[in-house]
């Protein structure tokens, strides 16, 4: 054991690190079906025993726990129920300009889901705004097949 001399003061070391968790996730029969049909630009909800429709669909009723099985074809227009404006998008948002995270209730569904809404300015978005999906060119059967929602008035289908 020798008492080592500390090295002369030297440059402060810095480095970039990346820690990755490479998860794959199984979807199950219900979300799996919901995602699969997104590739065909379709939305499928699932009906509960009280007649209300869940989107995203669930395998089991969130209150009674009964198994759900009745698919319901939904429209592709929806209504913004609430939103959060993102002034400074980060890389992983895949947005070039400020956008909104919004709770969107699709026509025919009774529950809202979270997705992005692209509007030119925050003043354009409000609860009640009617929106339609903007589909990506190469769908994979995933929620990201929807690039974002945009005001329905902007989409000519």
């Amino acid at each position: 054991m020798s008492a080592g001399q500390p090295p002369a003061p030297e440059a402060l070391l810095e480095a970039e690190f990346e820690l990755g968790f490479t998860y794959s996730r199984t979807l199950g029969p219900v979300i799996g079906t919901c995602f699969a049909v997104l590739a065909n630009h379709r939305f499928l909800g699932i009906k509960r025993s009280d007649g209300s429709v869940l989107f995203p669909p669930l395998e089991y009723d969130p209150e009674t726990a009964e198994s759900l099985s009745e698919w319901v074809e939904l429209g592709d227009t929806g209504t913004v129920e609430g939103y959060c404006w993102v002034k400074h998008p980060r890389d992983k948002h895949n947005e070039l300009a400020p956008f909104a995270w919004a709770l969107i209730k699709l026509d025919g569904a009774d529950t809202p889901f979270l997705h992005k809404v692209r509007v030119p300015d925050e003043s354009v978005i409000c609860p009640g705004l009617r929106v339609k999906p903007l589909w990506v060119a190469e769908p994979q059967g995933d929620i990201t097949d929807i690039a974002a929602f945009v005001p329905a008035s902007e989409v000519n289908s």
């Binding site: 080592g4 500390p6 030297e10 402060l12 810095e14 794959s24 699969a36 319901v72 074809e73």
Partner: protein, 179 residues
């Protein structure tokens, strides 16, 4: 079973990729900075906690046991050490060039009171035991960088195995003198 609506729909999608990446910038604190500069030159430095008297490696800024700031003075540690515990890895690690089976061990360097994990290679798996003596095998000097990876792995030193409990007792007595 869920009923299929018409028209026909595709089979359910089975799996999606959902990787999570944390990207961050690490800035070395003063103690880590000296440790990293030293290991670039092939030296392993530790620091003796004034609170516990124990020699910690890699040197932290604060002793985890007593919360006292560690001194600036560093202690050069040996290339030899003892296996405190070990595991044999049989499953390949994604993106790793290590070929199973290989040994990962907690190694206590001579003169240190804190172990770190590293690889043990060039030996039969059965020859690695608690108390086995090992020696650092450094990579060629031109490959040295700022990290413990400068040690390629540990090899068996051939010295007789150590009784870990008595070694631990001796180290604790030594630490007590310095606390």
């Amino acid at each position: 079973m869920t009923s299929r609506p018409s028209p026909d729909i595709p089979e359910p999608k089975e799996m999606v990729e959902r990787p999570v990446y944390l990207t961050y910038r690490y800035r070395a604190n003063p103690q880590s900075n000296r440790f990293l500069h030293a290991i670039k030159q092939g030296l392993i430095l530790g620091v003796r906690s004034k609170g516990s008297g124990k020699v910690l490696v890699p040197p932290p800024g604060v002793c985890p046991e007593t919360g006292t700031l560690t001194p600036g003075e560093m202690i050069e540690l040996s290339n030899n050490g003892t296996v405190l515990s070990y595991t044999i890895v049989h499953l390949p690690i994604p993106n790793s060039k290590l070929k199973p089976p290989f040994v990962v061990a907690n190694i206590l360097l001579d003169g240190a009171d804190q172990a770190f994990s590293h690889l043990i290679a060039e030996c039969e798996l059965k020859d690695v035991q608690i108390g086995t003596r090992v020696r650092a095998k450094w990579k060629p000097e031109e490959e040295w960088d700022y990290g413990l990876e400068n040690i390629e792995y540990f090899v068996l030193s051939g010295e007789p195995a150590v009784d870990i409990e008595s070694h631990r007792e001796a180290r604790l007595q030594e630490a007590a003198k310095h606390a």
